[in-house]
């Protein structure tokens, strides 16, 4: 049995065994605890909101509620004669109207004066239909009633509506795709679908508008829409509450790529540290990169790397009594997927986006000092060659060696031939120092001695830590001298098929694997001696201190298991020694 298989027995332990395992649990790092705290707070707030809302929506009179006392009502004395007079006027009106209609219907048309029309066009304006007859024409205008032949559809309702109510101060955005979003005063957004239909009451057909809340599709509220009054939806039967149209524009028509382009680049997510505001005590909580193609990738915010699409909602937020645009981050590739984060902003400041009331969390453009990129100064130590463009070309086409720089682990550098008298100083990293291709990139800054003056600020990307560039990147660069640098390897240099060879059978009675195919992108495939195959991931640590020597260790994982670990040496690039020499992988 493999060593770790013995320990599988410990899973699903009962209480006494569990206590013993808890004692030996490794310490959880502060970073991991912070991540858990952020996730927990987020989930707690969502639950709390749901509970509060559920309570608000479910106030019911139960049998324990007792109503007592007498409510005395005095009717005004003038009401009775007034009602009698109104009834009389109504009766007279009906009689007079009926008589007039009968007389009108009995009159025969004068056929001598009718002219055959030359052409007929129909124009529909949504509220009325005008039939225009040309030639020696007779013009008739006929108001459209609810029985119009045009079916009632959602397109008539698209736009922004204001809720006219004594209780709420909300706006509703109805989209052409049949969705709606209610923007509440406290910043909450409730989404759902709108369904149009008709209902016959007393022989008259009424257009109905029903709102169903996402994601359960529960009926939320409904109202009636009269085409003769196209900017009003009356809610319920009483008509006390109504929606009044503010504009005819849906979000979809307003959202354009240019809106999103304003946000392309790296962003840092910050939350308030402790019981303060994010402005007073910002705390790093993750990063987001917004790409030009309208997608984003986030790290740490939701505990793990996550990506999806990002959309701009021109009226997604409601802050200080005003509708503000929001940037919505979706959990998936479609704009209809769940919104993980909806951050509002104002057009006058496109470098900061806010969550909720703006005090608890924010997204700021670029990296911050706390957000050191994955590549740090230790990964940049070693010998570098300073190259400039030879002649009127680029440094990529015709590189010319112009000196060399040695970057030391203690954060200093020494330069030869490049800047005359200046031969060395301190070197620092600036995670947000450069701006290339629309995104912030980290820079390595070479100082004059120990002063703040920087003689060279060279930028690099996390994907290529072997080349540093100055300016646009076509005139000056620093190229790592790999022969003299420490045993740095990248994932690609390990790519290939490796055979698993057992050397010492103390730990394994037979080789657990036959072949390992390293893909060069952090994943590997393996085949065991029985021919079964599987996949795993690997991680390279180039800086592990073993017997006071920097060693490259490769950790191979299968699911959460650390399956085995190997040592790699540049001088023997086709062998990975497994677990202190008990086995090896041979390329």
């Amino acid at each position: 049995m493999k060593d770790e298989k013995i320990f599988d027995i410990l899973e699903n332990a009962e209480n006494d065994s569990m206590d013993r395992l808890i004692d030996k649990c490794p310490e959880i790092s502060d970073e991991q605890l912070d991540r858990i705290l952020v996730m927990s707070e987020r989930k707690f707030k969502m639950k709390d909101k749901e509970t509060t809302r559920a309570k608000k929506d479910n106030i019911k009179v139960t049998e324990n509620n007792v109503v007592e006392g007498v409510d005395r009502v005095r009717r005004p004395a003038w009401l009775r004669p007034m009602s009698a007079a109104a009834s009389l006027i109504l009766v007279i009106g009906i009689i007079a109207g009926s008589t007039a209609l009968i007389k009108k219907g009995s009159k025969k048309p004068d056929s001598d004066h009718l002219v055959t029309p030359a052409a007929t066009t129909e124009t529909s304006t949504g509220t009325e239909t005008v039939t225009v007859t040309t030639g020696t024409a007779v013009v008739t205008t006929q108001p459209v009633t609810e029985n119009s032949t045009d079916p009632f559809s959602i397109s008539e309702l698209v736009g922004k509506w204001l809720v006219e109510s004594s209780k709420y101060n909300e706006t509703i955005m109805i989209e052409s795709d049949g969705t709606y979003a209610i923007h509440r005063e406290n910043g909450d957004i409730v989404r759902g679908t709108v369904v149009t239909g008709t209902e016959e009451i007393g022989g008259t057909v009424h257009n109905t508008v029903n709102f169903y809340e996402a994601p359960n599709g529960e009926f939320s509220f409904g109202g009636y829409y009269d085409r003769n009054d196209p900017d009003v939806i009356t809610i319920g039967n009483g008509g006390e509450e109504k929606l009044v149209r503010v504009s005819n524009d849906g979000n979809n028509s307003n959202t354009s790529d240019s809106d999103l382009n304003k946000f392309v680049g790296n962003w840092t997510y910050q939350i308030a540290d402790g019981n303060t505001t994010v402005q007073e005590n910002p705390k790093f909580a993750g990063t987001i990169y917004i790409s030009e193609d309208g997608t984003f990738t986030a790290s740490k915010i939701w505990g793990h790397y996550l990506g999806g699409v990002v959309t701009v909602n021109p009226s997604g937020g409601y802050v200080n009594g005003q509708t503000v645009p929001t940037l919505d981050f979706h959990n998936g590739d479609s704009a209809s997927d769940e919104i993980l984060l909806s951050l509002w902003y104002t057009e006058d400041n496109l470098n900061t986006l806010y969550d909720g009331n703006g005090g608890s969390a924010r997204l700021i453009r670029g990296f911050t000092a706390e957000n050191t990129p994955d590549v740090d100064i230790n990964a940049l130590t070693g010998e570098w060659t300073y190259q400039i463009a030879d002649g009127n070309t680029t440094v990529q086409e015709n590189p010319k060696n112009a000196g060399s720089i040695t970057i030391n682990e203690d954060g200093t550098y020494t330069a030869t031939k490049i800047w005359g008298n200046y031969t060395g100083g301190i070197v620092t990293t600036n995670p947000n120092g450069g701006y290339v291709d629309g995104r912030n990139v980290p820079t390595l800054d070479f100082h004059i001695g120990e002063s703040d003056d920087i003689i060279l600020s060279a930028w690099y990307t996390e994907n290529d830590i072997d080349t540093l560039y100055e300016g646009k990147g076509d005139s000056v660069r620093l190229v790592r001298d790999k022969a003299n640098s420490s045993s740095l390897i990248d994932e690609k240099s390990l790519a290939g098929t490796w055979e698993f060879q057992l050397i010492d059978n103390t730990h394994f009675s037979s080789a657990p694997l036959k072949y390992v195919v390293i893909n060069g992108n952090g994943a590997y495939d393996y085949t065991d001696p029985e021919g079964n195959s599987g996949t795993g991931t690997y991680r390279i640590d180039t800086n592990e201190d073993i017997n006071d020597q920097k060693t490259t260790v490769i950790y191979f994982y299968q699911n959460t298991y650390l399956a085995f670990e190997g040592h790699y040496d540049n001088s023997n690039p086709n062998v990975i020694n497994i677990d202190n020499g008990i086995a090896k992988l041979v390329r």
Partner: protein, 188 residues
């Protein structure tokens, strides 16, 4: 931390109370959740579940925590329950529904075996006893290496040794454990 202290802290500052809870019981909850999800979830799944547990605890704190006699017991119960839920959702298979007739139904029996459960429980105790007999730091190194799947570097930081020393001790301790288990009659 007592429930009274927690309730007082909650009144003063809910955010501080949440932070204190995670700091105090984070490792405890992690260990419980890890025990249930070790075989089926990724590290992210485990962290997700731990945060679910704390979100539940925060809700409980908001309502009333002062009546709880033992806050640790409450946290343990919530953690176990949540971890089992996560386990079920992570291991849920698509084929929940299968056609069967009455005759087949009689043949269907529970896959839970009492004997196996008792055996496994006993094996677990024997294994933990033997690991404890190795003494410190070997017992911690073995558990962290093979049960918690930590690498030598991480273990070295926890037990304050160099990673090379951790590897050597781990290798020796595993050999020793192996022979102890054979003596105890456990087949390896």
């Amino acid at each position: 931390m007592t429930s009274k202290e927690l309730a007082d802290m909650m009144q003063r500052s809910p955010a501080e109370c949440h932070k204190a809870l995670v700091r105090e019981y984070g490792r405890y909850v992690y260990a419980i959740v890890y025990n249930k999800l070790r075989g089926c979830g990724t590290n992210e799944d485990i962290e997700e579940c731990v945060s679910d547990v704390f979100a539940d605890i925060f809700m409980k704190c908001k309502i009333d925590i002062s009546s709880e006699n033992d806050i640790k017991y409450l946290i343990c119960t919530v953690a176990k329950r949540r971890a089992i839920d996560s386990f079920r959702s992570l291991t849920a298979k698509a084929d929940h529904i299968a056609d069967t007739d009455e005759d087949n139904m009689r043949e269907l029996v529970s896959d839970f075996s009492v004997d196996e459960h008792v055996d496994r429980s006993e094996l677990r105790r024997v294994l933990l006893d033997k690991i404890d007999e190795l003494g410190e730091p070997d017992s911690t190194i073995l558990i962290q290496k093979f049960y918690y799947n930590r690498n030598s570097n991480e273990i070295a930081r926890n037990v304050r040794m160099t990673s090379a020393a951790v590897r050597t001790r781990c290798s020796r301790a595993m050999e020793k454990l192996r022979s102890m288990l054979v003596e105890a009659g456990m087949t390896i």
